[in-house]
Symmetry: C2
Subunit: 202 residues, 2 copies
Protein backbone atom coordinates (compact mmCIF):
# COMPACT_ATOMS: atom_id res chain seq x y z
CA UNK A 1 0.00 0.00 0.00
CA UNK A 2 1.54 3.35 -0.96
CA UNK A 3 2.19 5.82 1.82
CA UNK A 4 -0.40 8.53 1.95
CA UNK A 5 1.32 11.86 2.48
CA UNK A 6 -0.67 14.86 3.53
CA UNK A 7 1.43 17.62 2.02
CA UNK A 8 -0.40 20.47 3.76
CA UNK A 9 0.14 18.87 7.17
CA UNK A 10 3.81 18.26 6.38
CA UNK A 11 4.31 21.87 5.40
CA UNK A 12 2.64 22.91 8.65
CA UNK A 13 5.03 20.68 10.57
CA UNK A 14 7.99 22.24 8.81
CA UNK A 15 6.53 25.68 9.54
CA UNK A 16 6.32 24.92 13.23
CA UNK A 17 9.85 23.52 13.37
CA UNK A 18 11.14 26.56 11.47
CA UNK A 19 9.38 28.85 13.90
CA UNK A 20 10.95 27.15 16.91
CA UNK A 21 14.43 27.44 15.37
CA UNK A 22 13.98 31.14 14.57
CA UNK A 23 12.63 31.96 18.02
CA UNK A 24 15.38 30.05 19.78
CA UNK A 25 18.45 30.66 17.60
CA UNK A 26 17.59 33.50 15.23
CA UNK A 27 16.77 33.50 11.52
CA UNK A 28 20.37 32.96 10.50
CA UNK A 29 20.30 29.53 12.14
CA UNK A 30 17.35 28.45 10.00
CA UNK A 31 18.62 26.14 7.28
CA UNK A 32 17.22 23.04 5.63
CA UNK A 33 19.48 21.03 7.93
CA UNK A 34 18.57 22.67 11.27
CA UNK A 35 14.85 22.76 10.49
CA UNK A 36 14.95 19.06 9.54
CA UNK A 37 16.74 18.22 12.80
CA UNK A 38 14.16 20.22 14.77
CA UNK A 39 11.26 18.46 13.03
CA UNK A 40 12.91 15.05 13.45
CA UNK A 41 13.05 14.56 9.67
CA UNK A 42 15.82 13.92 7.19
CA UNK A 43 17.23 16.93 5.35
CA UNK A 44 16.09 15.26 2.12
CA UNK A 45 12.47 15.21 3.31
CA UNK A 46 12.55 18.94 4.09
CA UNK A 47 14.33 19.62 0.80
CA UNK A 48 11.43 17.96 -1.02
CA UNK A 49 9.32 20.93 0.06
CA UNK A 50 12.00 23.63 0.22
CA UNK A 51 15.04 22.98 -1.96
CA UNK A 52 17.12 25.78 -0.45
CA UNK A 53 17.34 28.40 2.28
CA UNK A 54 15.76 31.06 0.08
CA UNK A 55 12.69 28.85 -0.36
CA UNK A 56 12.56 28.32 3.37
CA UNK A 57 12.87 32.04 4.04
CA UNK A 58 10.10 32.82 1.54
CA UNK A 59 7.91 30.26 3.26
CA UNK A 60 8.70 31.82 6.66
CA UNK A 61 7.74 35.22 5.25
CA UNK A 62 4.41 33.83 3.96
CA UNK A 63 3.84 32.42 7.40
CA UNK A 64 4.40 35.84 8.97
CA UNK A 65 1.92 37.45 6.55
CA UNK A 66 -0.63 34.78 7.33
CA UNK A 67 -0.21 35.10 11.10
CA UNK A 68 -0.57 38.89 10.96
CA UNK A 69 -3.64 38.64 8.72
CA UNK A 70 -5.25 36.10 11.07
CA UNK A 71 -4.62 38.22 14.15
CA UNK A 72 -5.98 41.34 12.46
CA UNK A 73 -9.11 39.46 11.37
CA UNK A 74 -9.67 38.39 14.97
CA UNK A 75 -9.69 41.93 16.38
CA UNK A 76 -13.03 42.98 17.81
CA UNK A 77 -13.98 46.46 16.75
CA UNK A 78 -15.44 47.60 20.06
CA UNK A 79 -14.68 50.76 22.04
CA UNK A 80 -13.67 54.19 20.74
CA UNK A 81 -12.25 54.44 17.24
CA UNK A 82 -8.79 55.65 18.36
CA UNK A 83 -8.65 52.71 20.80
CA UNK A 84 -9.55 50.30 17.99
CA UNK A 85 -6.90 51.84 15.73
CA UNK A 86 -4.28 51.37 18.47
CA UNK A 87 -5.33 47.74 18.87
CA UNK A 88 -4.76 47.10 15.17
CA UNK A 89 -1.35 48.76 15.25
CA UNK A 90 -0.45 46.66 18.30
CA UNK A 91 -0.84 43.49 16.26
CA UNK A 92 1.78 44.50 13.72
CA UNK A 93 4.38 45.77 16.21
CA UNK A 94 7.05 43.42 17.64
CA UNK A 95 5.82 43.70 21.25
CA UNK A 96 6.21 40.09 22.38
CA UNK A 97 8.49 37.14 21.58
CA UNK A 98 6.18 35.85 18.82
CA UNK A 99 5.95 39.17 17.04
CA UNK A 100 9.67 39.84 17.53
CA UNK A 101 10.38 36.56 15.72
CA UNK A 102 8.06 37.74 12.93
CA UNK A 103 9.86 41.05 12.70
CA UNK A 104 13.31 39.43 12.63
CA UNK A 105 12.16 37.28 9.71
CA UNK A 106 10.89 40.37 7.92
CA UNK A 107 14.18 42.18 8.55
CA UNK A 108 16.28 39.25 7.32
CA UNK A 109 14.06 38.94 4.28
CA UNK A 110 14.27 42.65 3.56
CA UNK A 111 18.04 42.84 4.00
CA UNK A 112 18.46 39.91 1.63
CA UNK A 113 16.22 41.56 -0.98
CA UNK A 114 18.05 44.90 -0.65
CA UNK A 115 21.42 43.18 -0.91
CA UNK A 116 20.45 41.73 -4.29
CA UNK A 117 20.62 44.57 -6.72
CA UNK A 118 17.78 44.70 -9.24
CA UNK A 119 14.38 43.05 -9.30
CA UNK A 120 13.40 39.46 -8.57
CA UNK A 121 11.01 37.19 -6.67
CA UNK A 122 12.37 38.40 -3.34
CA UNK A 123 11.70 42.03 -4.28
CA UNK A 124 8.14 41.21 -5.36
CA UNK A 125 7.56 39.50 -2.07
CA UNK A 126 8.92 42.47 -0.10
CA UNK A 127 6.69 44.83 -2.13
CA UNK A 128 3.69 42.69 -1.32
CA UNK A 129 4.31 42.54 2.45
CA UNK A 130 5.16 46.25 2.50
CA UNK A 131 1.91 46.95 0.61
CA UNK A 132 -0.10 44.81 3.02
CA UNK A 133 0.96 46.99 5.96
CA UNK A 134 0.37 50.19 4.00
CA UNK A 135 -3.15 48.95 3.16
CA UNK A 136 -3.81 48.46 6.86
CA UNK A 137 -2.63 52.02 7.56
CA UNK A 138 -4.83 53.28 4.71
CA UNK A 139 -7.94 51.64 6.11
CA UNK A 140 -7.24 52.98 9.61
CA UNK A 141 -6.70 56.55 8.37
CA UNK A 142 -9.81 56.27 6.18
CA UNK A 143 -11.78 55.04 9.20
CA UNK A 144 -10.71 58.11 11.17
CA UNK A 145 -11.48 60.42 8.24
CA UNK A 146 -14.92 58.88 7.62
CA UNK A 147 -15.79 59.33 11.30
CA UNK A 148 -14.74 62.98 11.08
CA UNK A 149 -11.86 62.38 13.51
CA UNK A 150 -9.02 63.41 11.19
CA UNK A 151 -7.60 66.81 12.06
CA UNK A 152 -8.79 69.39 9.49
CA UNK A 153 -6.24 70.33 6.85
CA UNK A 154 -4.43 67.00 6.87
CA UNK A 155 -3.93 65.16 3.59
CA UNK A 156 -5.20 61.60 3.87
CA UNK A 157 -2.64 59.97 1.53
CA UNK A 158 0.20 61.73 3.33
CA UNK A 159 -1.10 60.60 6.72
CA UNK A 160 -1.22 57.00 5.53
CA UNK A 161 2.46 57.10 4.59
CA UNK A 162 3.48 58.90 7.76
CA UNK A 163 1.58 56.44 9.97
CA UNK A 164 3.22 53.58 8.07
CA UNK A 165 6.66 55.17 8.59
CA UNK A 166 6.06 55.67 12.33
CA UNK A 167 4.91 52.06 12.59
CA UNK A 168 7.99 50.68 10.85
CA UNK A 169 10.35 53.05 12.66
CA UNK A 170 8.99 52.05 16.07
CA UNK A 171 9.08 48.36 15.11
CA UNK A 172 12.72 48.74 14.10
CA UNK A 173 13.63 50.48 17.35
CA UNK A 174 11.78 47.91 19.47
CA UNK A 175 13.76 45.20 17.67
CA UNK A 176 17.13 46.99 17.99
CA UNK A 177 16.85 48.04 21.65
CA UNK A 178 13.96 46.15 23.29
CA UNK A 179 15.14 47.11 26.78
CA UNK A 180 14.88 50.81 25.87
CA UNK A 181 12.03 50.87 23.37
CA UNK A 182 9.72 48.75 25.53
CA UNK A 183 6.17 47.71 24.53
CA UNK A 184 4.75 50.40 26.84
CA UNK A 185 7.00 53.03 25.32
CA UNK A 186 6.05 51.98 21.78
CA UNK A 187 2.34 52.24 22.62
CA UNK A 188 2.91 55.66 24.21
CA UNK A 189 4.77 56.94 21.13
CA UNK A 190 2.15 55.49 18.80
CA UNK A 191 -0.57 57.23 20.79
CA UNK A 192 1.38 60.51 20.67
CA UNK A 193 1.56 60.20 16.88
CA UNK A 194 -2.17 59.48 16.65
CA UNK A 195 -2.86 62.53 18.83
CA UNK A 196 -1.16 64.65 16.17
CA UNK A 197 -3.59 63.25 13.60
CA UNK A 198 -6.90 63.18 15.50
CA UNK A 199 -9.02 66.33 15.75
CA UNK A 200 -8.61 68.02 19.14
CA UNK A 201 -12.32 68.05 20.04
CA UNK A 202 -12.92 64.35 19.37
CA UNK B 1 65.40 48.35 0.80
CA UNK B 2 62.23 47.34 2.63
CA UNK B 3 58.91 48.38 1.12
CA UNK B 4 57.30 51.25 2.95
CA UNK B 5 53.62 50.57 3.42
CA UNK B 6 51.30 53.34 4.43
CA UNK B 7 48.60 51.40 6.26
CA UNK B 8 46.17 54.27 6.53
CA UNK B 9 46.32 54.89 2.76
CA UNK B 10 45.88 51.18 2.07
CA UNK B 11 42.81 51.02 4.27
CA UNK B 12 41.41 54.04 2.43
CA UNK B 13 42.00 52.30 -0.89
CA UNK B 14 40.16 49.23 0.37
CA UNK B 15 37.38 51.48 1.63
CA UNK B 16 36.99 53.05 -1.79
CA UNK B 17 37.00 49.68 -3.59
CA UNK B 18 34.45 48.34 -1.10
CA UNK B 19 32.25 51.35 -1.68
CA UNK B 20 32.31 50.87 -5.46
CA UNK B 21 31.37 47.18 -5.08
CA UNK B 22 28.47 47.95 -2.72
CA UNK B 23 27.14 50.75 -4.91
CA UNK B 24 27.37 48.66 -8.08
CA UNK B 25 26.47 45.14 -6.89
CA UNK B 26 24.97 45.46 -3.42
CA UNK B 27 26.39 44.68 0.00
CA UNK B 28 26.00 40.94 -0.45
CA UNK B 29 28.55 41.02 -3.24
CA UNK B 30 31.17 42.58 -0.97
CA UNK B 31 33.63 39.88 0.03
CA UNK B 32 37.37 39.85 0.59
CA UNK B 33 37.70 38.39 -2.92
CA UNK B 34 35.51 40.90 -4.81
CA UNK B 35 36.91 43.90 -2.97
CA UNK B 36 40.46 42.70 -3.70
CA UNK B 37 39.59 42.32 -7.40
CA UNK B 38 38.07 45.81 -7.47
CA UNK B 39 41.15 47.33 -5.81
CA UNK B 40 43.49 45.38 -8.10
CA UNK B 41 45.06 43.62 -5.12
CA UNK B 42 45.48 40.00 -4.11
CA UNK B 43 42.90 38.56 -1.72
CA UNK B 44 45.76 37.92 0.70
CA UNK B 45 46.66 41.61 0.77
CA UNK B 46 43.08 42.59 1.63
CA UNK B 47 42.87 39.79 4.19
CA UNK B 48 45.91 41.29 5.93
CA UNK B 49 43.64 44.19 6.89
CA UNK B 50 40.28 42.38 7.07
CA UNK B 51 40.52 38.66 7.74
CA UNK B 52 36.85 37.92 6.98
CA UNK B 53 33.59 39.36 5.65
CA UNK B 54 32.43 40.38 9.11
CA UNK B 55 35.53 42.51 9.55
CA UNK B 56 34.91 44.05 6.16
CA UNK B 57 31.26 44.77 7.02
CA UNK B 58 32.29 46.37 10.33
CA UNK B 59 34.77 48.51 8.48
CA UNK B 60 32.05 49.51 5.98
CA UNK B 61 29.78 50.45 8.88
CA UNK B 62 32.52 52.61 10.44
CA UNK B 63 32.92 54.25 7.08
CA UNK B 64 29.19 55.07 6.97
CA UNK B 65 29.34 56.59 10.47
CA UNK B 66 32.33 58.65 9.51
CA UNK B 67 30.74 59.88 6.26
CA UNK B 68 27.53 60.89 8.05
CA UNK B 69 29.46 62.64 10.81
CA UNK B 70 31.55 64.54 8.25
CA UNK B 71 28.49 65.67 6.28
CA UNK B 72 26.70 66.79 9.43
CA UNK B 73 29.75 68.75 10.55
CA UNK B 74 29.78 70.52 7.20
CA UNK B 75 26.19 71.81 7.44
CA UNK B 76 25.93 75.56 7.67
CA UNK B 77 23.47 76.65 10.32
CA UNK B 78 21.94 79.53 8.40
CA UNK B 79 18.27 80.28 7.74
CA UNK B 80 15.26 79.54 9.97
CA UNK B 81 15.65 76.88 12.65
CA UNK B 82 13.06 74.49 11.11
CA UNK B 83 14.89 74.79 7.77
CA UNK B 84 18.20 73.98 9.47
CA UNK B 85 16.63 70.98 11.23
CA UNK B 86 15.35 69.68 7.89
CA UNK B 87 18.81 70.08 6.36
CA UNK B 88 20.33 67.92 9.11
CA UNK B 89 17.68 65.25 8.67
CA UNK B 90 18.31 65.30 4.92
CA UNK B 91 21.90 64.20 5.48
CA UNK B 92 20.90 61.00 7.26
CA UNK B 93 18.13 59.97 4.85
CA UNK B 94 18.89 57.73 1.83
CA UNK B 95 17.94 60.34 -0.77
CA UNK B 96 20.67 59.75 -3.36
CA UNK B 97 22.79 56.82 -4.56
CA UNK B 98 25.56 57.51 -2.03
CA UNK B 99 23.24 57.64 0.92
CA UNK B 100 21.26 54.63 -0.36
CA UNK B 101 24.49 52.62 -0.35
CA UNK B 102 25.07 53.78 3.22
CA UNK B 103 21.59 52.73 4.23
CA UNK B 104 21.91 49.31 2.58
CA UNK B 105 25.10 48.72 4.54
CA UNK B 106 23.33 49.72 7.74
CA UNK B 107 20.42 47.39 6.94
CA UNK B 108 22.71 44.45 6.16
CA UNK B 109 24.66 45.12 9.30
CA UNK B 110 21.50 45.36 11.39
CA UNK B 111 19.93 42.21 9.95
CA UNK B 112 23.14 40.31 10.64
CA UNK B 113 23.22 41.54 14.25
CA UNK B 114 19.54 40.68 14.77
CA UNK B 115 20.02 37.24 13.26
CA UNK B 116 22.66 36.47 15.86
CA UNK B 117 20.83 35.88 19.09
CA UNK B 118 22.42 37.42 22.17
CA UNK B 119 25.08 40.06 22.57
CA UNK B 120 28.38 40.54 20.75
CA UNK B 121 30.59 43.00 18.93
CA UNK B 122 28.04 43.40 16.14
CA UNK B 123 25.32 44.32 18.65
CA UNK B 124 27.56 46.88 20.34
CA UNK B 125 28.29 48.42 16.97
CA UNK B 126 24.56 48.59 16.09
CA UNK B 127 23.82 50.19 19.48
CA UNK B 128 26.49 52.78 18.84
CA UNK B 129 25.26 53.76 15.35
CA UNK B 130 21.65 53.74 16.57
CA UNK B 131 22.68 55.97 19.48
CA UNK B 132 24.52 58.33 17.15
CA UNK B 133 21.33 59.02 15.21
CA UNK B 134 19.28 59.37 18.39
CA UNK B 135 21.82 61.91 19.67
CA UNK B 136 21.34 63.93 16.49
CA UNK B 137 17.55 63.85 16.99
CA UNK B 138 18.03 64.88 20.64
CA UNK B 139 20.12 67.90 19.73
CA UNK B 140 17.61 68.98 17.04
CA UNK B 141 14.63 68.69 19.41
CA UNK B 142 16.60 70.49 22.13
CA UNK B 143 17.43 73.25 19.64
CA UNK B 144 13.73 73.71 18.88
CA UNK B 145 12.80 73.63 22.58
CA UNK B 146 15.52 76.13 23.54
CA UNK B 147 14.28 78.50 20.83
CA UNK B 148 10.74 78.17 22.20
CA UNK B 149 9.59 76.50 18.99
CA UNK B 150 8.43 73.20 20.53
CA UNK B 151 4.65 72.97 20.75
CA UNK B 152 3.53 73.46 24.37
CA UNK B 153 2.66 70.27 26.24
CA UNK B 154 5.02 68.05 24.29
CA UNK B 155 7.49 65.91 26.21
CA UNK B 156 11.01 66.47 24.89
CA UNK B 157 12.31 62.91 25.45
CA UNK B 158 9.25 61.46 23.75
CA UNK B 159 9.65 63.79 20.78
CA UNK B 160 13.28 62.72 20.34
CA UNK B 161 12.24 59.09 20.08
CA UNK B 162 9.33 59.82 17.79
CA UNK B 163 11.48 61.95 15.45
CA UNK B 164 14.06 59.16 15.41
CA UNK B 165 11.32 56.60 14.56
CA UNK B 166 9.93 58.76 11.75
CA UNK B 167 13.46 59.21 10.40
CA UNK B 168 14.19 55.47 10.37
CA UNK B 169 10.74 54.58 9.07
CA UNK B 170 11.04 57.00 6.14
CA UNK B 171 14.57 55.81 5.42
CA UNK B 172 13.34 52.23 5.33
CA UNK B 173 10.50 53.09 2.97
CA UNK B 174 12.75 55.12 0.67
CA UNK B 175 15.05 52.09 0.48
CA UNK B 176 12.23 49.56 -0.09
CA UNK B 177 10.28 51.52 -2.71
CA UNK B 178 12.41 54.40 -4.00
CA UNK B 179 10.07 54.96 -6.96
CA UNK B 180 7.14 55.53 -4.58
CA UNK B 181 8.83 57.07 -1.54
CA UNK B 182 10.82 59.59 -3.57
CA UNK B 183 13.24 62.14 -2.05
CA UNK B 184 10.61 64.88 -2.49
CA UNK B 185 7.97 62.75 -0.78
CA UNK B 186 10.32 61.93 2.11
CA UNK B 187 11.06 65.64 2.62
CA UNK B 188 7.34 66.45 2.49
CA UNK B 189 6.53 63.78 5.10
CA UNK B 190 9.40 64.88 7.29
CA UNK B 191 8.15 68.45 7.15
CA UNK B 192 4.61 67.31 8.01
CA UNK B 193 5.99 65.54 11.08
CA UNK B 194 7.96 68.61 12.11
CA UNK B 195 4.80 70.71 11.71
CA UNK B 196 3.16 68.52 14.34
CA UNK B 197 6.01 69.36 16.72
CA UNK B 198 6.59 73.04 16.07
CA UNK B 199 4.42 75.66 17.81
CA UNK B 200 1.75 77.03 15.47
CA UNK B 201 2.66 80.70 15.91
CA UNK B 202 6.38 80.27 15.15
Amino acid sequence: MPKIVDHATRREEIAEALWRVVRRDGIRAASVRTVAAEAGWSAGAVRYYFPDQEGLLSFAMDLVSRRVTDRIAAIEATGSLPAIVLRYLDEVLPLDAERRAEFDIWLAFLAQAQAESGAGALHDHVDSVHGQLRDLCASLVKGLADAGLLKPGLDQAREVELLHAVLDGLALHAAIQPERTTPDRVRELMRRHLDSVIAADS
